[in-house]
Amino acid sequence: MKLRLLYFARLRERFGVAEEGIEFAGATAADLLAVLQARGGVWAEELAAGRAFRVAVDQDLVALDAVLHDGAEIAIFPPVTGG
């Protein structure tokens, strides 16, 4: 399936990318994170188990077992700090 990935705030800066399109063969958000971690470097570091980040699918916060669908907009970002 094709996914559109968005990164925000500190993660956007660390990864050096705000947005990308990828072809994804897994099923869940956790599978996607494994793909991204496999890029190594800052990806492995920031998305390691135990690091604090959030995942949204089509603009709703989800747990890591959320099942993704073709054309989904997946955002990965640090815990929010507005208000």
């Binding site: 925000f8 705030a9 700090t81 507005g82 208000g83």
Partner: protein
């Protein structure tokens, strides 16, 4: 209901007056304004920039307000959150809640702020004397939001 995400300043008096304009059935308006401070975590802050996730931000704020309407009997709610670069003393966020009774207005206003702090996709980057830094989420904000699910 009014939800805005904007770079421009807002005015508390104007917003609250708009809620009660022409109405005589409102008993209570609880409101909150969050302001940019000149000190955070012990460092001087010269300015901050608020980044957000366009699209999700509006959706997340609407969901918070819907949850407040579902939980309390409310007459009107206004939420305005600013984005972009702000200076110390600048208002960042406004939440105002109108209800017949004060207990519901207070509770809903604090509930919306507590969840906004943990659910709405805004991020603050501060300009301090030691350079730029992203503000870290606080455990106390998670705890504040969690209170509302324990009732």
């Amino acid at each position: 209901m009014k939800i805005l995400v904007q770079a421009d300043a807002f005015d508390l008096g104007t917003e609250v007056d708009a809620m009660r304009q022409g109405r005589t059935d409102i008993g209570a308006i609880a409101s909150f304004v969050g302001l940019a401070r000149d000190i955070n975590e012990g460092s001087g802050v010269a300015a901050m920039t608020l980044e957000h996730y366009p699209g999700m931000t509006e959706k997340a704020l609407a969901a918070l307000v819907d949850a407040a309407y579902a939980r309390w009997t409310l007459q009107d709610v206004t939420v305005i959150h600013r984005i972009g670069r702000l200076l110390p003393g600048d208002p960042i966020v406004l939440v105002a809640v109108a209800s017949r009774h004060r207990g519901e207005a207070f509770a809903a206003c604090e509930f919306i702020m507590d969840y906004l702090k943990t659910q709405a996709p805004f991020w603050k980057k501060e300009e301090t004397s030691e350079g730029e830094r992203w503000v870290e989420a606080r455990a106390s904000d998670d705890a504040a939001a969690a209170r509302w699910s324990r009732d």
